[in-house]
């Protein structure tokens, strides 16, 4: 079904492309927001991805590779956006830690914040790797293709990104445990 739509879209059928875009835009938008951590930039990246997909679709040789190709376009668009973002980066004040979150009995909220903090510290390329593998559920070889890197490099980068995420959790967990034990304050 999808291949038929891709075939038609390759031949210039815009309705077929609209169907494909509608089916893909949610996951593209979500992935872009996760990678870029900015909804507006994510929107720009997805728009760029879909416009390029439509424009270049006739050059796609294998319709079966449409999804992988789309992910690659998205990755490139996100990286381009992140580079633009870096060029226009400005400093902001860091809000003080809201210690009320420490009241979270299960630590779930704290974990989310810790993950958010750790994730934000990752480079966009590493975030993209985690998003594609753990959110889009792409097998690592597909992720490597989308990122344009060797499979071994993808594996090592994934390992390092997860280590950083784990370190963020551990680092933030230590003060919480120490606070609970009365060693801080």
């Amino acid at each position: 079904m999808q291949q038929d739509l891709v075939d038609r879209a390759r031949r210039g059928d815009h309705d077929a492309f609209a169907t494909l875009a509608a089916a893909a835009i949610f996951r593209l938008d979500a992935a872009a927001r996760l990678i870029l951590r900015d909804p507006d930039r994510a929107k720009d990246a997805v728009q760029e991805t879909l416009v390029r997909a439509w424009r270049d679709l006739p050059t796609l040789r294998s319709p079966a590779r449409f999804d992988a190709w789309l992910h690659r376009l998205l990755y490139r668009a996100c990286i381009d956006e992140s580079r633009r973002l870096r060029r226009h980066r400005f400093d902001v004040d860091i809000s003080p830690i809201d210690l009320s979150t420490l009241d979270d009995p299960n630590g779930a909220m704290v974990d989310r914040d810790q993950l958010e903090r750790g994730f934000s510290r990752l480079e966009p390329e590493a975030r993209a790797l985690l998003v594609m593998h753990h959110y889009l559920d792409l097998p690592l070889p597909e992720v490597a293709i989308a990122l344009g890197i060797p499979l071994g490099t993808a594996k090592s980068r994934l390992h390092r990104a997860l280590q950083l995420m784990r370190a963020a959790l551990d680092a933030d967990a230590r003060p919480r445990a120490e606070l609970a034990e009365g060693r801080l304050a």
Partner: protein, 443 residues
């Protein structure tokens, strides 16, 4: 402890929660943009033409390095080719055979030199000439035209390519020295076009003369012991300019015919070694390759031809190529064509190496022993004269009997005979020997 938990599901769950739910609201905006966007044609993408393994699938399946290397080599070759084409390699390419590759077809029309365009369709008049002009010969660079002008005695005239600025160089000699010489073709231009070798008759002696194209510095080349009734004729200038070869006929010695070699300055004269002193020696032709002094000649035989030999003047070796007559060298000096009832083409390297490779192409039907020029049933079907070569040495051609068609065939014998009509008002059969000259290079 967090560190002891499996980080993978934690990250996956967190990403899933962060992603949220619900389609973004800008789909229509995107589709409005794409509907206004023109798609690229399929051929415009390099990835489209690359092996899939080099694009999307390169990390899924290991690619055998040879294929990858081959693909890179092909791409580089294409890029180099494109770059060469873009930088005008065509200007360095040998000119194609055909009308367009050659200069003017120049011929005598009564008392006017006529110049036909390369396609034979546009004809313009050149300079006025005396009636009876013959033996038109272009200089190697195509800038000058020599011909034999009638008179008492006949003289050599050298003119510009259109017949203008004509000057009788033997007439100038006569005026300066009171020497009256009659001239006979062929006229052999020096490789640099600065001098001419020709046969002069002074009284009863036929000798070889050299003269500058400006009419100055005439000299005589003669074997020692040249008898009064001997004849020397048919001079040919080697491509490196170092040697002049000509025939030496000695009637007093039972018609002995030898080939004599001499430097243009008159030194180093000697009878060609390895050749048979045979009264039936018919013709000689120097290789156009200046890197090697090879002289082809026909000896013995009869009107249907004799033994075709190649003499390496430097190495002093003689090789037999075949039998026949009308020998012509390819412009690159690598092949030799002759008539042996049809047309034979042989690789010179094979001949010199003692290999006998040659093939026959059918520019002539088997009409040996017949004067094909007056064979009306051969009109348009057979050439009747030496086979000519295209500038790139790939084609042989000649004017067909009747003079209205040029016959062309690949020198390697492949393909069929092609006919090129000549829209000329004159019969140019035997043209190269008479009233027509084909300027091989358009200056």
């Amino acid at each position: 402890m967090t560190a002891r938990r499996d980080i993978n599901p934690i990250v996956a769950d967190w990403l899933d929660q962060q992603a949220g739910r619900g389609a973004p609201a800008y789909l229509d905006e995107v589709l409005a943009t794409t509907s206004r966007t023109r798609q690229r044609p399929a051929w415009s993408s390099l990835e489209r033409w690359l092996p899939v393994d080099l694009t999307l699938n390169q990390r899924i399946r290991p690619v055998f390095p040879v294929f990858r290397i081959a693909a890179v080599v092909v791409i580089l070759a294409l890029l180099v080719t494109a770059a060469l084409l873009a930088t005008g390699v065509g200007q360095r390419r040998l000119p194609h055979f055909g009308y367009a590759a050659n200069g003017s077809l120049t011929y005598v029309d009564g008392t006017t030199i006529k110049l036909a365009s390369a396609d034979g369709k546009t004809i313009r008049s050149g300079a006025a000439i005396p009636a009876g002009v013959e033996s038109l010969t272009f200089s190697p660079d195509g800038t000058h035209l020599a011909y034999r002008a009638p008179g008492a005695p006949p003289s050599i005239v050298v003119a510009d390519a259109d017949g203008s600025h004509a000057r009788s160089i033997t007439g100038l000699v006569a005026a300066a020295s009171s020497e009256q010489v009659s001239v006979d073709p062929p006229f052999a231009f020096a490789p640099d076009g600065g001098r001419l070798a020709f046969t002069a008759t002074d009284g009863t002696l036929r000798s070889i003369r050299l003269v500058g194209v400006d009419g100055h510095n005439m000299s005589t080349l003669a074997p020692p012991g040249l008898a009064a009734d001997d004849e020397t004729f048919d001079p040919g200038w080697s491509a490196d300019g170092q040697w002049i070869a000509f025939m030496w006929s000695q009637p007093a010695k039972a018609g002995l015919m030898q080939i004599y070699l001499i430097h243009p300055d008159g030194s180093g004269g000697h009878v060609l070694e390895g050749a048979n002193p045979d009264p039936a020696t018919l013709e000689l032709a120097w290789s156009p390759d200046p890197a090697r002094s090879l002289l082809a000649y026909v000896e013995g035989g009869d009107a249907s031809g004799g033994s075709i030999a190649i003499r390496d003047v430097t190495a002093r070796n003689t090789f037999v190529a075949g039998t026949g007559l009308w020998i012509t060298w390819s412009p690159d000096g690598k092949e030799l064509a002759w008539w042996d009832g049809r047309t034979a083409v042989a690789q010179v390297a094979d001949i010199l190496a003692g290999r006998a490779f040659q093939h026959t192409i059918y520019l002539y039907p088997d009409i040996s022993g017949v004067n094909c020029a007056v064979h009306p049933d051969m009109a348009g079907k057979a050439i009747c004269g030496p086979a000519q070569w295209s500038p790139d040495s790939t084609l042989v051609y000649g004017t067909a009997v009747g003079g209205k068609v040029i016959l062309v065939r690949r020198a390697d014998g492949t393909g069929s005979v092609q006919q090129i009509p000549l829209d000329l008002p004159v019969d140019i059969t035997n043209g190269p020997n008479g009233s027509l000259a084909w300027q091989a290079i358009a200056p």
